[in-house]
């Protein structure tokens, strides 16, 4: 074997390892495009106040087509809506809401779903029976039916949307985690931990969970995309956040009646939302491709 070093050298830091694993994405062109899209929207959201040409809720000149200039010389790159608000500014400001609410809701869903999945998959027995049954009941609702009923019952607000998304997504996450755990629990390092008398919590969270992170991260990206769609759909159905602050789904809902004459009012928010979802889906695909390769 190699020569012996006297003292322990410093291990590479956690931050560096994380950076390196994100760097892995560079090997997937699809993933890079995805990251670029997400970064694009993140920058817009972060610097919305600077980047948006007009205040998002200000009435300026109604019914302007893209590229039009009104009498006072204001140019509207993406036109204005029926209330005379600049669509570009509203899209830029609307990205904030999505990019805060969607990751937060996804996170909440994982915080609930992961322990459920760990318990069902690792402890098995009654835990598994009960948790799986609960998941099955919730998942037997067509998702949107569930959302519509929940929101219609408890009302539309950011917190309620968060609750609804957590409630509806956690069972799916539980199932995925459970499946991963059922595989991982038979690994010998888990047996090794058991033979040295580790507690169930330690084994679930320290021995098993870190090894499930790959598929969980891929799933999280896909789910994030889906949550963005959900928020959009709720806005579109009129169950989203109340006006006047810009909300992509809401913008489509408000202007779709005019779609026959002013299609741009709804088309641009549609493109915005689709592109963001695409970004997350591409990243998920890139990550999966890389994880399969090694």
């Amino acid at each position: 074997m190699a020569e012996q070093t006297v003292s322990m050298p410093k291990p590479p830091s956690k931050a560096w390892r994380m950076f390196r694993s994100i760097g892995l994405l560079r090997e997937s062109p699809v993933g890079i495009v995805g990251v670029a899209i997400i970064v694009f929207w993140a920058v817009l959201a972060l610097f919305a106040d600077v980047l948006a040409p007009y205040p998002p809720n200000a009435t300026i000149s109604p019914m302007m087509f893209p590229g039009d200039t009104d009498a006072s010389g204001n140019m509207f790159l993406l036109g204005t809506d029926h209330l005379g608000r600049d669509i570009l500014s509203r899209i830029i400001h609307g990205s904030r809401r999505v990019l805060i609410l969607a990751p937060l809701a996804t996170l909440c869903a994982y915080i609930v779903g992961i322990p459920m999945g760990l318990a069902a998959g690792y402890l098995r027995g009654r835990w598994d029976d009960v948790l799986s049954f609960i998941a099955n009941v919730i998942l037997s609702f067509p998702v949107l039916v569930l959302y519509v009923i929940i929101i219609a019952t408890i009302g539309a607000s950011a917190v309620n949307i968060l609750i609804a998304i957590t409630f509806a997504s956690a069972p799916g996450i539980m199932r995925i985690v459970r499946g991963l755990v059922l595989d991982l629990r038979n690994r010998e390092y888990v047996a090794a931990a058991q033979t040295r008398g580790e507690s169930g919590l330690y084994i679930m969270f320290i021995e098993i969970l870190p090894n499930a992170r790959g598929p969980i991260i891929v799933d999280a990206c896909l789910r994030l995309g889906y949550v963005i769609i959900t928020i959009g759909v709720l806005g579109f159905l009129g169950l989203g956040l109340p006006p006047p602050d810009p909300d992509w789904g809401g913008m489509i809902n408000e202007t779709r009646q005019l779609a026959m004459t002013f299609p741009h009012m709804a088309v641009f928010p549609c493109i915005a939302i689709s592109s963001l979802v695409l970004g997350f889906n591409l990243v998920a695909d890139g990550l999966r491709e890389i994880s399969l390769r090694d």
């Binding site: 074997m1 322990m8 291990p11 390092y189 090794a192 033979t195 040295r196 320290i206 870190p210």
Partner: protein
């Protein structure tokens, strides 16, 4: 096909200067370099080597099935004189399955799970010979009978998962034989099978060669199997053939240092852990893109000469006086093998101490709810899987006790009960004065946990890939309360790394940066972190290559000797058990059928099952003759074990009704040697030894001072 008009008979298969590469993102990776092989009608060639040596790649290249990233980059493969590289896809297709057929490593995976075996069989002749469905069916049934499958018609209608692994492999062999191929490629055909099943398949392969006049290429990592199946052998190392010749030449008069090293790593009957320990090959197999200049084996070779061995690529040299025996070594005729003694250190046999473990009448039954309607009506829904039945055994301080048996014999369940992952259904397990039978891990004190630890089988998941190596060892140290202080824990981690002979900076490595052998060493360090008085090792080297396994085994025994640890060594490998165990326990279907000292168990009188097991183990020594005992039938299910003696369904020495009705008595030919069998003791004592060596070597063995019961021979001089 075409025959070469001029000269003698065209070989069936000829590889000429064959070079194979895989193309990856990292660039071209040469898998096989400068490979030559000639196979004549009726001949059989073995390709042998450790993992990564390129032996399977050669087989796939012969099939022209290298995948999208593999290619022949040089040389030729000639099948009956025709260059296979120039054949069209259609020509290849007509060759595959009809002229060249293949048998694979994992029979279950090689059969389509959703088609009946019959359909998978008949399509071969239908496709190649355009015969009718009826004809094809009849022929398939005929061949299934030829490969000794009982009730071929039932097999035809079955799906792959409905028959046992050994039967599946027989079906795959039948499938290969359906169109009467000229060339048969066998890629590790018995690796996934139990040793008694393997013996049956090996016998079958021998019969085929005679009956069908088929030429064979047999790929294996097991030298013993090559001896039993082939007449020529190609030893491969790191993408090259390093030595080739007849089996006798290569096994008895090997010239290449690697071949020599390989034989030094396998526990042949003459090896003994104290007097003639195994000699591992030092260093590691180079990665394909990091092969050294000159001789690939150079950095690991005791005869390496700088400036000569690493100057240029090494060609194959003919061994003078032995036509066809070639060796890829510049110094083949300079080395004096007779005076070469590798540095295997002989040691004293440890004195055994007090009794550490006493197991008495231990049973482990698993409850299983039967959900079939029949069971519901009958009302007996709960069934028992009798995983362990009446286990009685002892182990002493510094002793190595081996538990041998094939899959399903209950050896792993026994380990689980000892470790507290399961609790015993009945009986006592006394360990250092503590009663552990009903104490699960959570009820054991840190001291109890630390003093009884385990080494696991699979190097690829024995360590948690998410945590650093040092962190995982440190956790064990803290958990068992060996050290509390942070710097002391760190110190202890480093000491443990020293103990298993790994560099200290491995503490910061991740498991995936380690090779299989290194991971197993960490597994050993982890097991010894709590200063255990007993360690259970569950097949710790079965997944490792022989040269690595020898090193890990040696390390384990060295540590055991230093700490006077009791080692419970669970294994299916009888050769290894004979080599390292002091006491052997043979298990079959949850029962102990025989136990005694190693010498007692490996010499008559045997339990009939032990006898069959011994006969089944392939031994890579040309001077050894074995009695052939092939077990018939399948391993019965633990759910529904046979009444009476559990072995009676397959026992070649069954004496009558009593075997089916009554549990066998335990007889003691000598005190401490227990055999559970109905055969009267006098009759048992008249058994012939299974393994016999020819006279010439017997003298040599006696001279070498091998113990008389071991009947060993020095590792081929």
């Amino acid at each position: 096909m075409t025959t070469n008009g001029s000269g003698g008979e065209t070989p069936i298969l000829e590889c000429k200067d064959l070079c194979l590469s895989y193309f990856t993102r990292a660039g071209e990776i040469p898998a096989v370099v400068d490979f030559n092989m000639t196979l004549h009608r009726g001949g059989s060639i073995g390709l042998v080597g450790e993992s990564g040596c390129g032996k399977s790649t050669v087989a796939m290249a012969i099939m022209r099935y290298l995948g999208s990233n593999g290619a022949i980059v040089g040389g030729q493969i000639l099948y009956k004189g025709r260059d296979m590289a120039e054949m069209s896809e259609e020509e290849l297709r007509q060759l595959r399955g009809s002229e060249i057929a293949m048998v694979y490593q994992e029979p279950m995976a090689s059969l389509n799970p959703s088609l009946t075996l019959g359909r998978q069989l008949v399509e071969v002749p239908i496709c190649h010979e355009r015969i009718s469905e009826k004809e094809a069916y009849d022929r398939a049934v005929q061949i299934l009978a030829d490969v000794n499958l009982p009730d071929p018609e039932r097999v035809m209608a079955s799906y792959p998962h409905q028959i046992s692994g050994g039967q599946q492999q027989r079906v795959v062999i039948a499938m290969a034989l359906l169109s009467n191929p000229t060339l048969l490629l066998l890629d590790e055909p018995t690796t996934a099978l139990d040793v008694t099943v393997e013996a049956g398949i090996v016998e079958l392969i021998g019969q085929i060669a005679e009956k069908y006049d088929t030429s064979m290429v047999y790929i294996s990592h097991n030298l013993g199997l090559i001896l039993e199946t082939c007449d020529r052998v190609n030893v491969m190392y790191s993408g090259e053939a390093v030595e080739t010749g007849t089996v006798k030449e290569v096994f008895d008069r090997m010239r290449h240092p690697y071949t020599k090293g390989l034989f030094g790593c396998i526990p042949l009957p003459g090896a003994d852990k104290n007097e003639r320990p195994l000699v591992p090959i030092r260093g590691q197999l180079p990665l394909p893109h990091e092969r050294p200049r000159g001789c690939n084996f150079g950095p690991r070779c005791d005869f390496f000469q700088a400036g000569r061995c690493d100057a240029d690529t090494i060609a194959m040299h003919n061994v003078a006086g032995e036509q066809g025996h070639k060796v890829r070594c510049l110094r083949w005729n300079e080395i004096d093998w007779a005076s070469y003694r590798p540095e295997g250190v002989s040691t004293e046999q440890s004195e055994f101490g007090d009794r550490v473990l006493h197991v008495d009448g231990m049973r482990k039954y698993y409850e299983l709810t039967d959900n079939s309607i029949a069971a519901m009506i009958k009302g007996n829904r709960v069934k028992y899987v009798k995983a362990n039945e009446r286990i009685n055994m002892d182990a002493r301080e510094a002793q190595t006790v081996a538990i041998v048996g094939e899959s399903g014999c209950g050896k792993s369940t026994f380990a689980k009960v000892l470790m507290g992952l399961e609790t015993a259904t009945d009986g006592t397990v006394n360990f250092n004065g503590d009663e552990l039978a009903e104490k699960s891990v959570h009820d054991r004190s840190p001291k109890q946990l630390g003093s009884l630890q385990m080494i696991f089988q699979n190097p690829f998941d024995t360590l948690n890939p998410s945590h650093s190596v040092g962190g995982q060892i440190a956790r064990v140290i803290r958990k068992f309360g060996v050290e509390k202080d942070k710097s002391k824990v760190e110190q202890r981690v480093l000491e443990l790394l020293d103990l298993v002979k790994l560099p200290r900076d491995f503490a910061h490595r991740r498991p995936r940066q380690l090779s299989g052998g290194q991971k197993q060493r960490i597994g050993i360090a982890r097991a010894f972190a709590g200063r255990p008085s007993m360690v259970v090792a569950d097949e710790p080297v079965s997944a490792l290559d022989v040269s690595v396994a020898a090193a890990v085994t040696g390390l384990l025994m060295e540590i055991q000797r230093t700490y006077r640890t009791t080692l419970l060594f669970i294994s299916h490998d009888l050769s290894l058990v004979r080599y390292l165990a002091d006491r052997v326990v043979v298990m079959y279907l949850g029962h102990i059928v025989e136990q005694g000292t190693t010498d007692e168990v490996f010499a008559p009188p045997y339990h009939p099952y032990t006898e069959a097991l011994l006969s089944a183990v392939p031994i890579a020594d040309t001077s050894i003759e074995k009695k052939r005992i092939i077990l018939e039938g399948n391993l019965p299910s633990v759910m529904n074990p046979p009444k009476g003696c559990v072995f009676h369904t397959r026992c070649p020495r069954k004496i009558g009704r009593v075997c089916e009705t009554e549990a066998p008595p335990v007889v003691e030919p000598t005190p401490g040697h227990q055999v559970a069998c109905h055969i009267p003791l006098d009759e048992l004592k008249q058994m012939e030894p299974v393994i016999v060596m020819t006279d010439a070597n017997k003298q040599a063995a006696e001279k070498a001072g091998a113990k008389k019961e071991a009947e060993g021979s020095p590792a081929a001089e």
